[in-house]
Structures are given as C-alpha cells and as structure tokens.
C-alpha cells in the first residue's frame, strides 16, 4: 500500500528532531533542512516565496462538511486539510493521515499516522478522526456531505491509532469520498469553538492566516507538516499561498499575463489565444472539460414526445455552438464522458444535424418552447444561438436568461421546456455525474425521468467494483440517454490548467482540482 512519493515512518527523523526544537527555532531549522536537503535535485528552482492564485469561485465556507461547491472549493480546502487517504490522478489510493487500511466486507479499518497535530496543537488521533466522520453523518450538522457517507453505519475508536468504520452495505465509492471533502479532518477543538467556517484548522500543508471576503485568502507554510517529498525534503515548499478572488475573466487574463497571479482556476477559451503566444504562461490540457447540455422536460408537451425531442436534437448545430461560444477550443462527446474517461464510447452519437427533417417532424406549425438559461457568460450567448437555430428548424423558442436560483427553481418545478446548463467533468466517479441527473430519484432529475431501464443500469454500475462491468453499464446508460434524446449534449469547452512557467509541482485530483504542497516557484 505504501506509495513511492510518501515517506515511510522510518523517513521521519527530521520530524522528530524538529519536534524536539520549539516554536520559531523549528521554522528556521525546517528552512535550513530544506535548503541543504534539496541539494542538486532542486537545481535552480527556488524554495519558498509567495504563490498568488487568481480564483473566480470564492468558497462560502472553509468548513469541508458544509462546503457546497461541487468541486472547486477543494482547490482551496486542500491547502488546510488532509484526508485519511489520497486518491491519485490515475484513481489509485495512497496513504495520508492513515498509514494503511484494510477492507473486509462491510468493515474498513484504518491505522493512523502517529505524531501528527492540527495547526492549533490538537493531536490528530482516532478520536479526532471519528469526531469528523460522525459530524458529517450527524443530521444536526446539516452537512452537505452527509449523502456521500450515507452507507456509513458506525464509527468506532479501537485505540488512539486505530479507527474502524462499519457500513450498512458495501460501497464502491466510500474510499473515493473519504479521500475528498467528506473525509477532510478538522481540529475538533476549533470546530467546537464555533464560527468554524471562516477560520479553518486542519493538519494540511498551509496554516490559515486571513480571509477577506471578495478580496483574498492567505495561508502560511505549516512548518510542522508531516509529509515529505519523494527526495525526503520538507513540504510544503512555498512560504505562502494567496488566493485572490477575481471573477472578471478579462482581469484574470491580464493578471496571469502580467504576472500578478501565477495560477488561474479557469478561463474561458476566448482568452487562450493571447496566452498561447506568451512564453511566461503555460496552458496545460489536463483533460478537464466543461460539459454544456440542454435538459429537456419530459413531463409535459412538447418534449414528452420522443419525436419532438429528436427534432430538437436535429435542430442544434453543436459544432456551431462550440465555434461561437468556445472559440473553437472544444470537443464533441456523447455525454458527460470526456475522451480520456474509461467509460467513454465514441460510437454513441446524437442524431445528425438536420433542420429540414426537424421541421418536417414538427408538422409545419411553429412549436412554442421556453428555454431557460443562466445569466453568466457565455451561457446567454449560447442560448441566443440556440434560439436562432431552433427558429430555423421550426420551433418558436422563448429564451429566459435567469439567475441561478431562479433558473433552478423553475427547473425543480418543471416549469420549462429546455434548460441550458453546464457541469465540470470529469467528476470523481461517473456515478457522481450521472445519478443525480438521470436516476428517477436523483436530486437533479429536472427532466422528470422515470425510466426503469436507465435506473436499472445506474444501479448496476454502482453495485460492483468490477471496472469492465461498470464500463459496460455506463456505456449503456449513455446509449439510453442519447437514444431517447432526454438531454442534448452540446460542446465540451477545454478547461486547461493555466499557470506561470515558473510554477511547477502542481498535483492534481482525479477531477482536476489541485494540491499545492509540492508546488514551487522558480525565482
């Protein structure tokens, strides 16, 4: 189970030595250690320094149990928190706060790392870990992550270094969830002190320093961080990380090209052109896509009629949408699968573009429909283009550009015909992309689907850990969705990692969120 990039307990003499030294001395010692330890392996790369990140999606809380963003909060939370285990980019798991674990049926036992303390000095032990997991599943917490751990029946502290989880049923997603927000470990002392969401205390590589809403958030190097680099040097390498909250994409583009920030969460494709010619900036395609889609309301006319759904699909020029709204920086894919995903199947295709055939299917009379879109670029532009394409194919579309809450309210009440939205893909597991939207009991079943075949396939896909069976099930799921034209998937704009050429060592999660403990800035 031990991974090459993670130190064995035997690699920890430095920590012991530092633990003997106190306070400020430790900081200097750590710096010195890092300095001589790096030697040739670090080469010209500088240690320390401040990394400034341009971030468009400010979290509303830094309490992982209450975080509501589907994934973007994690790029911030990873600064302050660790989980029992980490999931690497390829999907495999490596130890983190737990040194090892065993899964036997519905029992999972973790052996915890010794000597780790939270930033406030509270020791990290089985009690602390149990406190966090129990807090998530306690209904009183109203945790947004409770659903992720819904199969968890009991959390038991066997001894200070052993934690045992008992499940109601096997759950192929349990380890995935524990490796992300639902499993992030916060200091029980700090959580109990109250108003926790604005002053997080974890065991992570950076210690929370300050957070000014809409301005910036600062984390300072955790001198006592437990993790070591593969070469045995201390982590993290940066002295400080600053997240600047900037929502305007023009501004973000200008900031990354002038060096005001060295890393940007996401930029729209029309900003890529200028950056590509800039040698100080790296655009790295990490396989992350934004998946635009139109959900059709199957609970009422006209889209309760499969023929009219097919007509809608034939009316939409997906490549044209991509050209106009993603500056040509996009893929076309059958569904929430990206080309690199293990459940991708290129043979699934929507009906080809054919406005004339669509018009014939409508029976010669304009069919009035209401399209709801979100008031956030470039969605209104896409909606306008769809409006023009649908009109050409004989629909009489009315576009309503709404704020998020209003749009979702309308969709939950099924007071719409077609809804334009986007999600970031891949997610940690395909079930997290498909179940909420297509299962008849899904929280986001806006289309009002009640398709027994689809439900059966989705259940089959989460009932096993056999990759081949799961893949087949998800391919069938996609074939069913596209075949029935429940949704019309549009383009997938590319969402590359954009950073300064001086910044290296960014580690990515399965879904493209980042960790900065190994990041470093060349001076």
């Amino acid at each position: 189970m031990a991974a090459p990039s993670f130190p064995h307990p035997s690699h920890r003499p430095a920590l012991t030595r530092r633990a003997l030294l106190g306070g400020g001395v430790a900081l200097i010692a750590a710096g010195a250690l890092a300095g001589c330890g790096s030697g040739d392996s670090a080469g010209a790369k500088g240690r320390g320094g401040t990394l400034t990140v341009g971030f468009d999606n400010e979290p509303t809380t830094l309490d992982p149990a209450l975080s509501s963003a589907i994934s973007s909060d994690r790029s911030v939370l990873n600064l302050f928190y660790d989980t029992l285990l980490r999931q690497q980019r390829d999907g495999s798991f490596v130890p983190a706060l737990a040194e090892k674990w065993t899964v036997e049926g519905t029992t999972v036992t973790f052996t915890l790392r010794a000597g780790v303390t939270f930033h406030d000095g509270t020791p990290f032990d089985a009690e602390a870990a149990a406190f966090n997991l129990r807090r998530v599943i306690d209904p009183a917490t109203k945790s947004t992550k409770a659903g992720a751990l819904k199969k968890l029946a009991a959390v038991d502290v066997v001894d200070p270094r052993t934690l045992r989880l008992t499940l109601k049923a096997t759950d192929p997603l349990l380890l995935v969830q524990l490796a992300h927000e639902p499993g992030m470990m916060a200091s029980p002392t700090a959580v109990k002190a109250g108003e926790y969401g604005r002053k997080p205390v974890g065991t992570g590589p950076f210690v929370f320093d300050a957070w000014r809403s809409k301005v910036q958030l600062t984390g300072k190097r955790n001198p006592k961080y437990w993790r070591k680099a593969a070469d045995g040097t201390a982590l993290p390498r940066l002295d400080q990380v600053v997240y600047r909250f900037v929502t305007d994409t023009k501004v973000l583009r200008a900031e990354i090209s002038t060096g005001g920030v060295q890393l940007v969460r996401v930029l729209p494709p029309e900003e890529f052109g200028q950056l590509k010619s800039d040698r100080q900036v790296v655009l790295e395609d990490i396989g992350v896509r934004r998946s635009y889609y139109v959900a059709l309301n199957t609970t009422r006319a006209p889209f309760n009629d499969p023929k009219l759904r097919e007509a809608f699909a034939m009316a939409v020029d997906r490549a044209g949408v991509g050209k106009a709204a993603a500056a040509g920086e996009f893929d076309l894919a059958p569904s929430f699968a990206t080309r690199n995903d293990w459940f991708f199947d290129g043979s699934i295709t929507p009906p080809p573009l054919n406005p004339a055939k669509a018009k014939a299917a409508l029976g010669g009379r304009p069919v009035p429909i209401t399209v709801v879109a979100r008031r956030r670029a470039p969605d209104p532009t896409i909606a306008e283009l769809l409006q023009s394409q649908l009109t050409a194919a004989g629909f009489d579309p009315k576009v309503e550009v709404l704020e998020a809450q209003t749009q979702l309210d309308r969709m939950r009440k099924q007071d719409f015909d077609a809804a334009l939205l986007v999600i970031d893909i891949p997610r940690l597991d395909p079930s997290l992309s498909f179940d909420p939207y297509f299962a008849s009991k899904g929280s986001n079943n806006w289309s009002g689907l009640a398709d027994a075949e689809l439900d059966g396939l989705l259940e089959k896909a989460v009932g096993t850990e056999d990759r081949a069976v799961r893949k087949q099930a998800y391919v069938d799921v996609q074939r069913r969705i596209v075949g029935q034209n429940y949704w019309v998937f549009l383009h997938q704009p590319r969402s590359p990692l954009i950073h300064s050429a001086k910044l290296t060592g960014i580690v990515l999660n399965v879904d493209g969120q980042w960790r900065l403990d190994e990041a470093e800035l060349a001076s």
Binding site: K250, E270, R375, L385, S388, V399
Partner: protein
C-alpha cells in the same frame, strides 16, 4: 430675470423660434430624429439583425457588414438600428408613464396638502434616496428580466422625480396672484389645474422630461449591461456594449459603436434640455443635466 408668468399662447411661440436658433438644439433634434427613424425602420431590419452566422464571427467592417459582425456573426449596424427600438421605448413609454403618473401625484400632493401630501412626499424622499440603479435592479430582479419589466422599473424610479418637481412648482404657483384670483372667482380645482397650472407647468415638464429621458436611457443601458434588461433576440445597445467588452481583443469595434449610439442619444437629450431651458428662461438647478 423674472420668469414669464402669464400662461398665454403668444408667450410660447418665441420659445420655439429661439429653440430652433440654438446650436445645441440644431444638433440634438436631428440625432433624436435619426434614432426615431431607426426605431421605425427596425421591423424591416430585424430579420437581418437576428440572423446568426457561425462562419463569420467577429468579422471586421466590410462591404457586406459596414460595422462588422458580432460574436454570433450578426450584422452590428443592423443590430444598432434594431436596438433603437428599446431606446425609443424607454424615452417615450417609461418616461411618458413616469411623467403622467408623477405629474398627477405631484399636482395632487401639492394642491391637496395635508397628511396625504406628507405621506406621499416622505415616500418620494425615501425612493429618491435609493441609488437609482439599485432600485431599478431590485425591481427587475423581482419582476424578471425583459423589456416590459425594465420599462416598469425605470418608470418606478423616475415617477418620484416628476412628482417632486411638479409639487414644488404647484406650491410656488399657488401663491401667485392669478391663481388665487381664479380660486376666488370660484373656478373648481380640477378646472383650475387643467386650465392654468398645467399649461404653466408644461415648459418645466418638457425640460425635465428631456433630462429624465437621458437618465432613463443610461439606466436601461446599465441594466442591459448587467444582463437584466431586454432579453434576446431583441438587441439593446447596453447589452451590445457588454458583449463587446467580452471580446475586446478580437474586435475593438464591437462595443465602441453601440456605445457611441448611447452616448450621442444621451448627449442629444441633455443638449435639448439645455436649449429648451434657455429658450424658456427657466434657470433652476433641477433643470440642468446631472445624474
């Protein structure tokens, strides 16, 4: 200089002559006429202004597209012409509704006095203390976006301004001899208002309406810029500037031309107000352009 106080027809005529001799009016009137003409022509051009062409995105000026194309390949010139409809609707419908409603409220409050006046005027004070755009934004957010709701929001924020000006005018006119005389003679109040006060108010209201038109156009453009104004496919100048600022690198002209259209129209209304005010010789701080 004393303000002309006799509400006779003869006194109005030199005003028009004076106005037409004013260089500011000679700039403003043709500009406004062009905007109205564009709005009138918009049904002819709306098909062209709404036709998307993904093969010709953000193209520069050419023979086929004199001002280039926008982010969906639509003709910018046609969209500016088509967008004039919105501006004209704001200047006429929204400001007109506010003018009628505000005048009625102002006349009523000013003439009636008493607690109704007090309640109305405190409400007006309160509404006027809201930043105009915040109030308009909230009203539109509550009603939902769209041209009709934007017009309602603008009428809501503009009405109290008219009410206050009209009430002040009524209060000052009430003390004049000819009004008291008419009252003593036994003219009923509505007749008095209609026959004597309103004609006298007309001049002030013209100037004030021109000023409010410019404020209203800015408000609509700002709402559209923030995405809360007119909904697609109807183009609006404010929304076009917003789209243009998203594509500043690809096409500088996209936001510049619709912005110029807004600027010229507002300048025309401001200059017209200045010229009218000078022609009427009604020099008061509330009749001078200020936002």
């Amino acid at each position: 200089m004393p303000v002309d106080t006799t509400p006779t027809r003869a006194a109005r005529r030199p005003v028009l002559t004076r106005l037409l001799r004013d260089r500011r009016a000679r700039f403003a009137l043709p500009v406004l006429a062009a905007v109205v003409l564009a709005a009138a022509a918009s049904p002819l051009i709306s098909a062209r202004s709404r036709a998307t062409d993904t093969e010709r995105l953000l193209a520069g000026p050419s023979g086929r597209h004199p001002l280039g194309t926008d982010e969906l390949g639509r003709d910018v010139l046609a969209r500016i012409v088509d967008g004039a409809t919105v501006t004209v609707a704001v200047a006429t419908v929204a400001v007109g509704a506010a003018l009628v409603l505000g005048t009625l409220l102002g006349l009523f409050a000013g003439y009636r006095g008493g607690w109704l006046d007090a309640v109305l005027m405190r409400t007006v004070d309160g509404l006027l203390a809201f930043p105009l755009l915040v109030l308009a934004l909230t009203v539109v957010a509550a009603l939902g976006p769209g041209l009709r709701n934007a017009l309602i929001a603008i009428a809501v924020v503009t009405t109290p301004r008219f009410a206050r000006v009209v009430r002040a005018e009524v209060l000052s006119l009430r003390t004049r001899e000819w009004v008291s005389a008419a009252h003593i003679v036994g003219l009923p109040t509505p007749a008095l208002l209609r026959r004597h006060l309103l004609p006298h108010l007309a001049g002030t209201l013209f100037v004030f309406a021109a000023l409010q038109a410019s404020t209203a156009i800015i408000a609509e453009a700002s709402l559209s810029f923030l995405g809360l104004g007119v909904q697609p496919p109807q183009p609006s100048w404010g929304a076009m500037v917003a789209a243009g600022t998203d594509h500043l690198d690809a096409s500088w002209s996209l936001s510049v031309f619709p912005g110029l259209a807004i600027l010229l129209t507002i300048a025309a209304f401001n200059l017209l107000a200045d010229a009218l005010r000078d022609a009427l010789d009604a020099h008061r701080p509330d009749l001078t352009p200020a936002r």
